[in-house]
């Protein structure tokens, strides 16, 4: 009987926490957020790890700047569709020096690398943060800006490889990959190629896309990401994407590192 209740009725899509949220929202008109004390009411240990290990240790490690850590974290949350954590981390990213135009481009980039719906969830959240901070259209990238120059040789090589492998399998994918991704998205100027790679690699690791890491980690390092920074992305993501995703990425990263001229 209790099983019937639990199994059949377990979709409280908007259950306890929502009811609570509505009350909170109704009373204060402010966003609900989980305080340190709230965490402690379920797990004093998590409260300790949060304020100690993550805040005082992880985010202060020298391998990545706070700005880079914010980009990695925001990309991870969007890639994993955890929009509920986004408002605070987008606010933190702005404080850590990520520009509104860069946040806009991160979301645009992940529409293609994480799926359209993930970007839409991020848009809904970010729209509010931008309104609250008075960030308007003048701070956003143009829909069709002057693109960065294309590295014709590298792009021709990439396109040829994909065409040879998959031109007969899915010509539509091959065409869009060239036209929309590599001759358009990657050349948009408001997010530097190195940062675009940072977003891409973070999202791949964070969503378990191991097979796509080699190409993009190499591209990231071609775009200026150092081995030390790549290594530290893995450390940061252990906390934000979970240990298993990082341990699945480690052998791939090792292979990429070893395959590059030192």
């Amino acid at each position: 009987m209790r099983l019937l209740a639990a199994t059949l009725a377990s979709l409280s899509l908007l259950g306890a926490s929502l009811a609570h949220a509505n009350q909170a929202q109704g009373t204060t008109g402010e966003n609900l957020s989980l305080t340190s004390g709230d965490i402690g009411r379920v797990s004093p240990a998590l409260e300790k790890y949060a304020s100690g290990t993550i805040q005082e240790d992880l985010w202060k490690r020298p391998g990545l700047t706070p700005r880079d850590r914010s980009i990695v974290t925001v990309a991870t949350l969007i890639a994993r569709n955890q929009a509920v954590e986004l408002p605070r981390h987008i606010a933190l990213a702005l404080e850590n020096g990520v520009k509104p135009a860069e946040i806009s481009e991160i979301i645009t980039h992940l529409a293609f690398y994480s799926g359209w719906a993930n970007a839409m969830s991020a848009v809904a959240v970010t729209k509010e943060v931008f309104v609250q901070r008075g960030i308007g259209a003048d701070q956003l990238p143009a829909a069709s800006p002057q693109l960065l120059p294309l590295n014709e040789t590298a792009e021709a090589q990439r396109a040829m490889g994909v065409q040879q492998n998959f031109g007969q399998v899915a010509p539509g994918v091959v065409q869009y990959t060239t036209d929309i991704l590599f001759k358009d998205l990657w050349l948009r100027p408001d997010l530097a190629p190195r940062d675009r790679s940072l977003v891409t690699v973070s999202s791949l690791i964070a969503s378990g896309q191991v097979g796509q890491i080699p190409y993009h980690l190499n591209r990231a390092m071609d775009n200026g990401l150092t081995k030390e920074q790549a290594s530290e992305i893995l450390t940061h993501l252990a906390f934000y994407a979970g240990w298993p995703n990082v341990f699945s990425a480690l052998p791939v990263a090792k292979s990429v590192f070893e395959g590059r001229p030192s």
Copy 2:
């Protein structure tokens, strides 16, 4: 300090966008939805891709009918548990010719191929769409309808393979796979086997289940899906499930295509 706030308190499970939603809902009594202008307030580029590339190009490509594209999209959203995008796409699916009974069966099918909780989220959303459109019990499939005839030979071969491989590992899985999936779910008459395969293959690609694609893509083509349609599913999913999932599926699809008699 700001890190403490950001890290500890970042769970605004019902944060900015919810507060906004409550206001919107409270004022109008209508569903909140993201307009084209909302997208533009975060990313004019995404607005351009949405109205241009996706609406005017992707959905009009000849490889798949709008009805098929709706089935692929709805299956993808359920498989990725992005129920928030479902209301509009279930409405669009109905307009594109997917019957209410077929939507019911898509959700039922994905309870097993994407996990029970994904189906429950989809039920919560779809229930509202059905109420709004006056879709009642008379348009839904029976709980226990007359099943389609079983292909005894193919099923015996499938069951034997699974039993030999995994009968000693997880006899419960093997038994339920036969009894609930292949002698029941797949034979339910209100979703054609070819469409059931379309749902299954889409959900596998969309959730990165690469290892399960070969069996089900072959089964889909046995059920009438053409190579051109399978190819176009990959193109459609590049946008809705993200490029990495599709690039991980491409070599598998290539191998399946090459392994079939032409």
Copy 3:
């Protein structure tokens, strides 16, 4: 035109079901939940599977106790970030004999094995369940309790292997893995190592982390999980994490079973 509406505006992050929830909450002040009848309004078949196959058959199979099944189910929902199903299943877990301190530790454990954001979503939900049931700080594990004794030999061997493989790739990951996971988290006394393994293995299978299953399934069996129980976890997860995740785990489980002394 309808496509524009559907594609652009499909982010009803707080759409139909939320509007409904607000009404329900406003009227009754109680949590919304999906009843058996609600499921039947979309899929009479799902209603039948829920009350028959899942409730009357799966949960009553002898291979795992109801307490173990609750631990597996809760771990699965957290690992897949399906917090919306959590309230009922945390309540059921308490009724099935999982202690509040154990639920606290399950969430803490999964902060590291599923990612921090997953744990935060679970905290938000569980906090409410604990409040409703009067579960206070006296029933929670200490932040820094007396740890269980370390198996020095096994830990030295594990640490050496990871250091040799990945010490040059990501020294930060290697260090945190030792300090935070194996010399701290795994030794926390309020969740038995065997149950901690049950949580870990369930979350790995449920999130498709196939590569990490061998180490942790072996560890689980070293910690007392029997082959029959491991087998039954796979059967239970077929329903809660979907067939494809389980079929991807089956060959790995088979290999682990065969590699152990009988």
